[in-house]
């Protein structure tokens, strides 16, 4: 019943881990050949892999776990997907209906535990409901603002001796769920007017624009407007990273020019972005002179933190199409010269304090390798065309700053929840979706150890991912904050000499490991790693442990123009 419904929903791949309450389902998996099941080594890995698959393809990722510990191990991955609005279906086995509430073996209240971190959840009460529930779950997970949906299935409702007539519903109709699709054209006209009036406009696009597959429309819009663009961490790639109008990422570790442009703008066009605290810094001080146009599919994201002057509800893709149509009719009223001096100002900011690119490539052996260099070499070797997953910390920010994404869905990282351990399993999910494409996991020695067991899954399914471990022998971002805000007291952010030999570790899992410690070996070592097309290669690069990520917003009580640009140097 369940497998039939999943197949009818178009599912090709499930990431999971078996256990008692899920055994009937696993037997059904064994007796069919339409859906592949990927056996991970930990349920958290299953959720992140399904998440990576969903981010890269736009299709929902599917996870299957057993009750109790299987379900609780999946929680971190569900929360990760929830915070970044990623469509995911998590099917959790549950103890048999008559045992629920009796503290049975491997019983846990999965619906209760997951409630705050799912878009919706279902308990199957009768096997005959499974097709409808699966249909609704996929509809909810993928429409409106996407998110994870949990289906909790008591063991007896999957018993093979209960036979039902199976029919997969063609349509889905949930009367209490009607997310907005098409924008209100009156709001579109108001937005156009505001754009025409603006002299210092900025486009600020986030993950919602990627979820809505709106990158083509966004580019088309800006071919008309020529406005400076910034992307959030989640939005990288939705607008081409190498386009001259692109200012780079904004926010906590955003570029100087992007943050200055946002702070000084007279119009902010927010597209599928939610004014999260990594972006606004102190909300009261955020962009004091700016009018806000906010395009979003989720009512509750608009005017939550920053009041919007014009709100356009609807699928962002449709809203952008509507505004393009409107602009096509009234383009002659638009004077691009009006923003020339604004663009010149932004170019000046970039010259003053923009990210330094060439500097890092010219270092000799007298200096330690800098983490930025590693990302730049990876960018050049992969020609900017790889899928890049990351974990969380300094390496994540360096990757976001120095790898320029020209396409959406190629930068895969945990932005909202900030989940260490995400990178490797997410890379597996991407590699399953796109086996011929280069998939790189840029990670750190802290994060990679949180889901390192998945190296075994990579061997089983022969996944030639490239893992670039930016090894600074410390929890770098924690250490950076301790350096800056706690007088350099490194409380529990270093491991003394307890790090594993990552080369041997990788080899014991049947893969290739490379260690790089010198600048002169960096380029050749990385090139060698990427030349091994059919091998998973773990490149352990020892970098300068003292390096910090800059710019960095001054917090608390700072605005977007208040940045640390270097050690001891404030803007």
């Amino acid at each position: 019943m369940l497998m039939g419904a999943l197949h009818d929903e178009g599912v090709e791949l499930i990431f999971g881990y078996p256990g008692g309450a899920a055994l009937h389902i696993y037997d059904a998996i064994f007796r069919q050949d339409k859906i592949d099941h990927i056996l991970v080594r930990h349920e958290q890995g299953a959720t992140h892999a399904a998440d990576g698959y969903a981010r890269a393809t736009g299709k929902p990722g599917v996870v299957l776990v057993t009750s109790g510990p299987g379900a609780t191990n999946a929680i971190t991955g569900i929360a990760t997907a929830f915070m970044d609005s990623i469509p995911m279906i998590v099917i959790s086995g549950q103890v048999a209906s008559h045992l629920i509430g009796t503290d049975a073996f491997q019983e846990t209240d999965m619906i209760g535990i997951s409630r705050p971190i799912v878009k919706h959840s279902y308990t199957v009460e009768d096997a005959s409901e499974i097709p409808r529930i699966v249909k609704e779950a996929f509809h909810i997970a993928t429409s409106g603002r996407p998110g994870p949906v949990v289906i909790d299935i008591p063991k007896d409702t999957t018993a093979p001796d209960n036979l039902y007539e199976y029919e997969y519903p063609k349509d889905v109709n949930i009367r209490s769920y009607n997310p907005p699709v098409e924008p209100d054209l009156e709001q579109i006209e108001r937005a156009v007017e505001a754009i025409f009036e603006a002299e210092k406009p900025v486009i600020y696009a986030g993950g919602g624009a990627i979820n809505s597959n709106a990158s083509k429309e966004l580019f088309e819009l800006n071919e008309i407007l020529n406005i400076p663009v910034t992307n959030t961490l989640m939005g990288l790639g939705v607008y081409p990273g190498t386009d001259p109008r692109f200012m780079g990422m904004l926010g906590m570790h955003g570029t100087y020019q992007a943050n200055m442009a946002m702070h000084n703008a007279d119009l902010i066009i927010a597209i599928g972005a939610r004014f999260d605290d990594r972006i606004t810094n102190t909300p009261k001080l955020f962009a004091p002179g700016a009018k806000i146009i906010h395009f979003d599919v989720d009512h509750s994201s608009v005017s939550k933190i920053i009041e919007a002057n014009i709100a356009v509800f609807g699928q962002v893709k449709n809203s952008l199409k509507a505004i393009i149509n409107s602009l096509n009719e009234s383009k002659e009223d638009y004077d691009p010269k009006k923003i020339y001096s604004w663009r010149k100002q932004i170019a000046e900011w970039k010259t003053q304090h923009g990210l330094k690119h060439d500097l890092y490539l010219s270092e000799g052996d007298e200096n330690q390798i800098l983490p930025q260099q590693v990302v730049q070499h990876v960018y050049q070797i992969t020609k900017g065309d790889a899928y890049v997953t990351s974990d969380v910390g300094q390496h994540q920010m360096f990757a976001a700053q120095y790898y320029h994404f020209d396409e959406p869905r190629k930068w895969i990282n945990s932005g909202g929840l900030g989940t260490m351990g995400f990178g490797l399993p997410a890379a597996m999910g991407v590699k399953f979706a796109f086996p011929k494409d280069e998939v790189v996991c840029i990670t750190g020695e802290g994060s990679i150890q949180m889901c390192i067991q998945e190296l075994s899954t990579c061997l089983q399914y022969n996944l030639p991912i490239k893992i670039i471990n930016i090894n600074n022998e410390a929890l770098g971002m924690v250490k950076q904050w301790q350096d800056m805000n706690y007088s350099g007291r490194h409380s529990e952010s270093t491991y003394q000499s307890s790090l594993p030999d990552f080369v041997k570790l990788t080899e014991s899992y049947g893969h290739v490991g490379i260690k790089i410690e010198k600048n002169s070996d960096l380029k050749s070592g990385l090139e060698h790693a990427f030349s091994m097309k059919d091998k998973l290669v773990f490149v352990d690069v020892y970098v300068d442990p003292g390096e910090h990520v800059y710019p960095m917003l001054v917090a608390p009580n700072g605005s977007l123009k208040d940045m640390w640009l270097d050690k001891g140097k404030k803007a």
Binding site: G112, R175, D298
Partner: protein, 94 residues
């Protein structure tokens, strides 16, 4: 300022706790709460018209919650509640 929220939700197991849980998740306080299945459909015809649906007896519940919040927060709470899949309508009762 004390506000009274009027919420119509599906009368299904788990619906109520999603609304109540939301208050705690988002840091709002519930001062009083009352819930009943809807039997007198006459009073709810406007919801049928608004959502273009037909209600049956006991199919939905009417939940009243009082809480103390300012205007901005009230708007945010109502949007969050309306986003819940099992909620048909959440409004401020005047």
């Amino acid at each position: 300022m004390q506000r009274k929220l009027s919420i119509i939700l599906e009368n299904k197991p788990g619906s109520l706790v999603r609304v109540v849980g939301l208050f705690h998740q988002r840091g709002y306080n519930i001062e009083s709460l009352h819930v009943d299945p809807v039997t007198n459909l006459e009073k709810y015809r406007h919801i049928e018209d608004l959502l273009d649906i037909k209600l049956k007896e006991n199919e939905v519940s009417h939940l009243s919650i009082t809480t103390t919040v300012n205007d901005n927060l009230l708007r945010q709470i109502l949007r969050q509640i309306n986003k819940l899949i099992d909620v048909l309508l959440a409004v401020e009762e005047k």
